[in-house]
Amino acid sequence: MSPPRLLIANRGEIAVRIIRACRDLGISPVAVYSEADRGALHVRLSDYAVPIGPPPARESYLVADRILAAAKATGATLLHPGFGFLSENADFARRAIDAGLVWVGPAPASIAAMGSKTESRQRMIAAGVPVVPGMTTPAESAGEIAAFGRENGFPLLLKAAAGGGGKGMRVVRSEPEVPEAFERTRSEAKSYFADDRVYAELLVEGARHVEVQILGDATGRVLALGERECSLQRRHQKVLEECPSAAVSPDLRARMESVAVAAGKAVDYVSAGTVEFLLAKDGRFFFLEMNTRIQVEHPVTEMVYGVDLVVEMIRIAQGGEMSMKEKPAARGHAIQCRIYAEDPARGFAPSPGRIGRLRRPQGPGIRVDSGVEDGDVVPLDYDPMVAKFIVWGKDRDEAFRRMRRALSEARIEGIETSIPFFLSLLDDPDVVANRVSTQFLDDWTWEPHRPPDDVAAASVVAAALSAMEASRKRRKGTVPEAPAGGLSAWRNARGPFGVRE
């Protein structure tokens, strides 16, 4: 009997993550790929692969018809949507189920209930879950948003109704900013979620983003597996996540977990999901939204609780019970850094391109989830996340030290990455002491990590030795003019000597 096949309607790091869960379950993974991803790692690690269109997501990874046709063509019987793309599209889930596929995620009705931020707010208010003041229906016009702001005060947060994962969000500090912000948010919402509805809510300043992982199965069991601290965000995109949150006491944890379980039960939640809260300075917390899918930062929970969330999702989808009867014991502390292809020295501008040398960190307490290898191309068309470095330590201090070790050990050449950003961030006294909020990074300026003087000198000497070697070889005629090696994709140096900044 050949093993069942699971189609992964995604790409990059999360597709590779799901492939690994398939391998751990003896399931055969099926990849889909756009033209930009023909040679991508998620294709090469799969047993089956089907092309689904040109590079832009709206012509490939967002085209439900092509994905369902790929499942049919390869005999896949399960479908995992990953995160982003169609993962929170209730209509797609319904179509997949109608086509006879096992949908690895919650029921379409649960997705729909939580998928519209406005509807989910209404459901949560009805269930007694505290929410932040906000619009109960999407804004028809910039004027509606301005009116909401006049009534509740600024700043506001504009959000895509169909959004999630920090995409399609924008702060509006005063009324004159409303029209441009409304247009931009609508445009991003449309291009990313194919849905341009936008709404506004009050921005609770100085608050933390703390979220609770839940897991439900068909027996009606819903467990909460602790919280994650996700306050460190840039452009409303989480960049570093921790489990547990150093700001959450055992008592607060129990209360947040109980509210999260209530929120899940209110929508008959089955599968892995995340209930996001805003944790105010005074200890009150408000429901923000629920993500009805696996989350980018799920590995920190996995490391602390010893659970494979993606494996549990697949088991539950196959009709099985989750593998635990109660919340497992927590152990130690985990941190994740999202490594993006972006240039901290140029305002975090995207840095797509071909990766040259790649040294991944290794050893005790280190996990790397990545969608690329050395020689792979990071395409322009998608999210710039190239890897997640996840570390575990017996306490937060050990986890921080190990993350510094991981970041220092890593080399990713050919493209720029956010590694230098994280090396500095992890040395910031406020970050070390966990004195952060979701606004923390708005006011934070990246200063490159300063190495010892002899390291700077060594870099000049090595460059001079390289140049001398190249010049010697050129004279001998043994090599062409351009230097050999995989590093030539690096752009010209900028920024002052010593360190790039």
Partner: protein, 173 residues
């Protein structure tokens, strides 16, 4: 062999002189650094100084002498010029003195919106275009005050890094 080291943002040049067997001796800003250097594979050097200090450096020297180096978790950027190239640059007044004549794309992407038109007077830092790349909108700002001579791209168009997006009128500051 002697090289000029030019660091962006520093006016005074530095000089590095290296000799190499596998043993190397380098003079940088008058200080002497010597030891043993091994190119483990192309572009990856391990330096062990006489004092026993070990530093691994990944280095990429471009054809134009632009250097990217990574060591101990830090990235370095500078220019390395041999005597010949340095003299040639001296004669033309160097590279950094020129005033920006146009705005180029710093990254590949797609033009979402054009915010300036020929004839517009723009101030340094003013957004002139919005580029979309990796699902983010990125404002492209004017590098200086000036008058727009032409816009070379249109909304919806894909551009590569280094493509000219917009030109300034000569001396229009």
């Amino acid at each position: 062999m002697k090289f000029q080291v030019r660091v962006p943002g520093e006016s005074a040049g530095r000089e590095v002189v290296v000799t190499a067997g596998p043993a190397f001796e380098a003079t940088l800003d008058g200080a002497v650094l010597s030891g043993d250097a091994l190119e483990v594979r192309p572009g990856i050097w391990s330096l062990v100084t006489v004092g026993g200090r070990q530093i691994e450096v990944s280095v990429d020297v471009g054809k134009d002498g632009a250097v990217r180096a990574a060591a101990a978790g830090t990235l370095f950027g500078f220019e390395l010029l041999d005597a010949l190239t340095a003299r040639a640059l001296l004669a033309t007044g160097g590279r950094t003195a020129r005033k920006a004549r146009h705005v180029v794309a710093a990254m590949p992407g797609r033009v979402l919106r054009v915010l300036a038109s020929p004839g517009d007077r723009v101030a340094q830092g003013q957004p002139v275009l919005v580029l979309e790349a990796m699902k983010m909108e990125n404002e492209v700002k004017a590098p200086r005050d000036g008058v727009v001579a032409s816009v070379e791209v249109a909304a919806g168009q894909a551009v590569s890094a280094g493509d000219v997006l917009l030109r300034f009128e000569a001396g229009g500051e």
